[in-house]
């Protein structure tokens, strides 16, 4: 057994050693060194992203003498594969930009540097960052791996013309209110809401938000709480929009997020909940350009007219990117210097101006607050709440979406199958609890 293990380790190690690697040996002076950074490919602004890579590298070279080599990944799975091979071989990117909801999983691998007090000081102090953006950096303040880099809070787009025509002055702040407004706005060829029921991610964000607002964070002290009545209510509300309230286009059972944006862009829906600022690029080229606005999504849970005791008025999941430094990196000091540079006000301003993603830097965020076009995003960002920090979150997320996927056949027939929904939620609860029980 031992011999087999040894051989496998040797073969795998030698194969991977030749596959990837970063240069340099250690110390703080960066002259002649290269830092590798892995970041998600920006499909909306590919040209600008390439220029941004060059600018960052040039500036970092000026500051430290080291060059930065950027690599991109297309999907979270791509990124995971890169992390797996790098972690196994102990070589690869020094710095990764991770999605916020993926940070707990990355933390669970123990492959990234936990930031001590000294490290935070070198990054410019924790105060440099908006407190709300630090909500998903680690399980607690003394075990943080993620440095907030950008913020992409979720908001709701609304069609100003349609609302004005119906005599609605602003979007409701409760889900029940929104449903009533949507009913009023639904008429021939136009629906109140555009919702992507077939998206692989959107559904869980709705269910999570409505549950959290009702006081159920879905995971509490290692226990899954998907069997709580608040979650069942969330599913019934979310599915009910199409099945019983009839405020969503029946074709939405097959929609991904992009199709919901397209429907709203064609003027066929009054509200488009669960979109980030990146939707602006598409909408500004659509028929509703100049005639739509953004508002925060309702923060009062279904069945209530005010936030109940114990409820959290979450306007969005804490969304965006965190920067993490690989534990195997031979140039940790240099990596931290780069993270500092990227989270300083200057770099954050350049990033915001290029890609439209909100800064995590407190000073800059304060300046942007004054811009009325950004009001909804800034407000949502400040009211964003981190999803549960557990390595099991990916599994729980999938279990939450699965309930919606398996409910679609009934939904398409215009009904909610109560008994089936209950059994699906029960199944999701057991999957979630099973995943939490395996957490180490």
């Amino acid at each position: 057994m031992k011999a087999i293990r040894g051989t496998i380790a040797l073969l795998l190690g030698s194969a991977l050693l030749t596959a990837c690697g970063s240069d340099g040996g250690g110390g703080t002076s960066g002259a002649g060194k290269t830092l590798d950074v892995l970041i998600g490919a920006n499909t909306i602004y590919p040209e600008q992203q390439r220029r941004w890579f060059d600018d960052v590298s040039a500036k970092f070279k000026q500051e430290t003498g080291a060059t930065v080599r950027f690599e991109t990944f297309a999907t979270p799975n791509d990124e995971l594969t890169r992390i797996q091979t790098s972690v196994l071989s102990g070589q690869g990117p020094d710095v990764y930009a991770l999605g916020t909801t993926f940070t707990p999983t990355a933390y669970a691998t123990k492959a990234f540097v936990e930031l001590g007090a000294d490290d935070w000081t070198r990054l410019g102090g924790r105060d440099k960052f908006l407190p709300s953006t630090l909500g998903i950096s680690g399980p607690d303040e003394s075990h943080e791996v993620g440095v907030p880099f950008t913020s992409r809070p979720f908001v709701m787009a609304y069609n100003k013309d349609l609302l004005a025509k119906a005599g609605i002055d602003k979007p409701a702040d409760s889900w029940d209110g929104l449903r009533d407004q949507a009913k009023k706005l639904t008429s021939a060829g136009v629906y109140g809401l555009a919702v992507a029921y077939a998206d692989s991610f959107d559904p869980w964000k709705f269910i999570w938000a409505m549950s959290v607002q009702a006081g159920n964070p879905l995971v509490e002290g290692g226990r899954a709480r998907l069997d709580d009545p608040t979650t069942a209510t969330a599913y019934r509300t979310y599915l009910g929009w199409l099945a019983t309230d009839e405020v969503v286009d029946p074709a939405a059972v097959g929609w991904k997020n992009a199709q919901a944006i397209a429907a709203f862009g064609a003027g066929e829906a009054a509200f488009l909940p669960m979109v980030s600022a990146t939707s602006k690029v598409t909408l500004d080229k659509s028929s509703v350009a100049g005639r739509y606005g953004y508002a925060i999504m309702p923060t009062i849970p279904p069945g209530a007219t005010a936030l109940p005791a114990g409820g959290t008025g979450a306007a969005s999941i804490l969304s965006g990117d965190n920067l993490v430094v690989a534990a195997y990196s031979k140039d940790k000091d240099l990596a931290l210097a780069l993270v500092k540079m990227l989270t300083d006000a200057d770099a954050q301003r350049a990033y915001y101006q290029t890609f439209g993603e909100l800064p995590t830097n407190t000073a800059l965020a304060k300046q942007l607050q004054a811009d009325p076009a950004l009001a909804a995003m800034v407000e949502s960002s400040s009211k964003a709440v981190g999803t549960p920090f557990t390595g099991a979150w990916s599994q729980i997320q999938l279990a939450l979406v699965n309930v919606v996927v398996q409910s679609v056949p009934a939904l398409s027939a215009g009904r909610i199958d109560g008994a089936r929904l209950d059994s699906l939620v029960k199944e999701a609860q057991s999957t979630a609890q099973g995943a939490l029980d395996k957490a180490k």
Partner: protein, 292 residues
């Protein structure tokens, strides 16, 4: 066995197989051993950093896969859909081969066009069919105009048939290609002799042509079945994850366990099961062509 033959066998230069054999061990044997090893470990997001030290759990992953996961359901869905696809492609492929075999104007063009579904990347096929089959899409509109019930194709019971239709659409040209190759091995004199004897077309087909086609068609059926069972891209692109229950096929389930749930050990156990599923028809085929 004669003494001379035994000597000849002893003197065969078997060492010349060494380079190929070594490659086979590296490319096929090594990953297989690693997959087997992983399937015995409790390997997940918490342990993969030092994966060789992940807790050894014996056959626990196999037990969990059979008892507590969707594996049995996925094996059932995968094999039934693959069998149905294989059965559909057989008559379509053979009919197309018979039609494209005889000489006629534009035969080259027709032969090329028939191959289009087969040469398109699965990702493109999946994306195009997803657009066709989405609610209120091309398929629903066409059916509606014909007075038939339009409905949900990408979820619910019909999704199984959507998967069968699309996979059959992309898979039948292989049968056509192999049947056509088989037809070309038929000796022209056989046709002449049959014509002289006054054989009708059906007798000719059944008694003379089909025996030539048996080998290539058997191979085509096995490959079609294996391709269908192992197809990950098409169901993944058509239905996304999590899969609707009616199309929860084995490769997608294995993928989800690995890359969404990070249960690498469990996923490896599932992969070993898939190997069993594909080994059955493969062994049957090898036996049939006496290569065992």
């Amino acid at each position: 066995m004669s003494r001379a033959r035994r000597v000849a066998e002893r003197q065969r230069p078997l060492w010349m197989l060494a380079p190929g054999g070594l490659l086979l061990v590296l490319v096929v044997g090594f990953p297989l051993v690693v997959a087997g090893q992983i399937s015995l470990l409790d390997l997940d997001q918490y342990t993969f950093r030092q994966w060789l030290d992940a807790p050894f759990v014996g056959l626990d992953n196999y037990v969990e896969a059979v008892r507590d996961s969707s594996l049995p359901h996925a094996v059932w869905v995968s094999t039934t859909y693959a069998v149905v696809v294989t059965l559909i492609t057989l008559p379509v492929g053979v009919a197309a081969a018979l039609a494209a075999h005889d000489r006629f104007t534009g035969r080259g063009l027709v032969r090329s066009v028939l191959l289009i579904p087969y040469v398109l990347p699965a990702f493109v096929v999946g994306t195009v069919w997803r657009i066709i089959l989405q609610p209120d899409g091309v398929a629903d509109n066409a059916l509606g105009r014909a007075g038939l019930d339009a409905g949900l194709w990408l979820n619910g019971p019909r999704s199984f048939w959507a998967l069968v239709i699309v996979q059959a659409w992309t898979a039948w040209p292989l049968l056509y290609l192999l049947a056509l190759a088989g037809l070309q091995t038929v000796d022209p004199e056989v046709h002449e002799a049959a014509a002289l004897d006054g054989a009708g077309w059906w007798v000719k087909l059944r008694r003379l042509i089909f025996p030539y086609l048996r080998g290539p068609i058997a191979l085509g059926l096995v490959i079609t079945f294996l391709h269908s069972v192992n197809n990950f891209t098409l169901p993944f692109v058509l239905f996304g994850v999590p899969s609707p229950r009616d199309v929860e096929v084995l490769p997608v389930l294995t993928y989800v366990e690995s890359f969404q749930n990070f249960r690498f050990g469990l996923s490896a156990a599932m992969a070993v099961f898939s190997l069993g599923v594909v080994a059955v028809p493969l062994l049957a085929y090898l036996r049939a062509v006496r290569l065992t």
